[in-house]
Subunit: 171 residues, 2 copies
């Protein structure tokens, strides 16, 4: 198989002018590339006693649920405001312009639960940091944050501060 990065497609000016979007759909479409991603993450975390994989809407669901099932862990969705049906706790965080809010069910974790947080990509890191803080609010134990793609020039790793981060591919 060719390199994993061959399956990441650059889309100029998406979602807006001047941004080069990293499209992971070719990677997901290739069962070999998708399996390679999952097997790599599985090997990293299989002995970490992960109780739950938390995935961020929407592409984080794709990476997170397959990994949860492979690890024999439960899957917990973290969603945009108003999407989760049960009682939630939420966190609002600043964007370049304006703000955004994410939510998690208040019964998603019990104190001490071992949680792996995943998303497809880290850019500026604001959403992942907010998600990590939500997990902390429930007193769960955030074992690691894993993403497929890290856009290093946007310094998401700095935004995350002391939160851990593993990325498969860096740009």
């Amino acid at each position: 198989m060719s390199s994993l990065s061959d399956y990441i497609r650059d889309i100029p000016d998406f979602p807006k002018k001047g941004i080069i979007f990293k499209d992971i759909t070719p990677l997901l479409k290739s069962h070999q590339a998708f399996s390679t991603v999952m097997n790599t993450l599985y090997e990293l975390y299989k002995n970490k006693k992960i109780d739950y994989v938390a995935g961020i809407e929407s592409r984080g669901f794709i990476i997170g649920s397959a990994l949860a099932n492979k690890l024999g862990a439960g899957f917990v969705p973290i969603r945009k405001k108003g999407k989760l049906p049960y009682k939630t706790i939420s966190l609002t965080y600043d964007l370049e312009y304006g703000s955004d809010t994410i939510e998690i069910h208040e019964d998603a974790f019990a104190p001490g639960d071992r949680v792996l947080l995943v998303d497809d990509l880290i850019a500026t890191g604001g959403t992942l940091k907010a998600a990590a803080e939500l997990i902390g609010k429930l007193d769960a134990n955030l074992i690691d944050i894993a993403v497929v793609v890290e856009l290093c020039f946007l310094k998401g790793r700095e935004t995350l501060g002391s939160y851990p981060l593993y990325s498969l591919l860096t740009y």
Copy 2:
């Protein structure tokens, strides 16, 4: 383990007054229940030579990607308008009030590809029918439609007409 239906939570008046929402997050959270769902679907489709599992945003991503990975198939997302970054084909369909549009990448399938379409739930069936039609527009071969929950009283199966449908749990 108790019955799968014990892991589906009723949420009254969500997303709006008078609707009882079937919340699958307790099922996803339980690694046993989630594995049972995945193993059941895997057994059903493992010999069907599925090339791709297509999942509908957002909860269909959760069911679809784990199943794709388990089957050794690729995963293809079907999304709301404007969310997919590359060239798309789209389909607009009627809702009770107004309409909605879903999209798929135009290179998602080649003619004859064997596709399993999945979502978490079928209600009136409008979205799943539109997704099945999108798959047909790309001349792919829709092998089956699989959902975790079927709300029979909303007659989604009738909406689907001649499209096939498998559901794990019926209400």
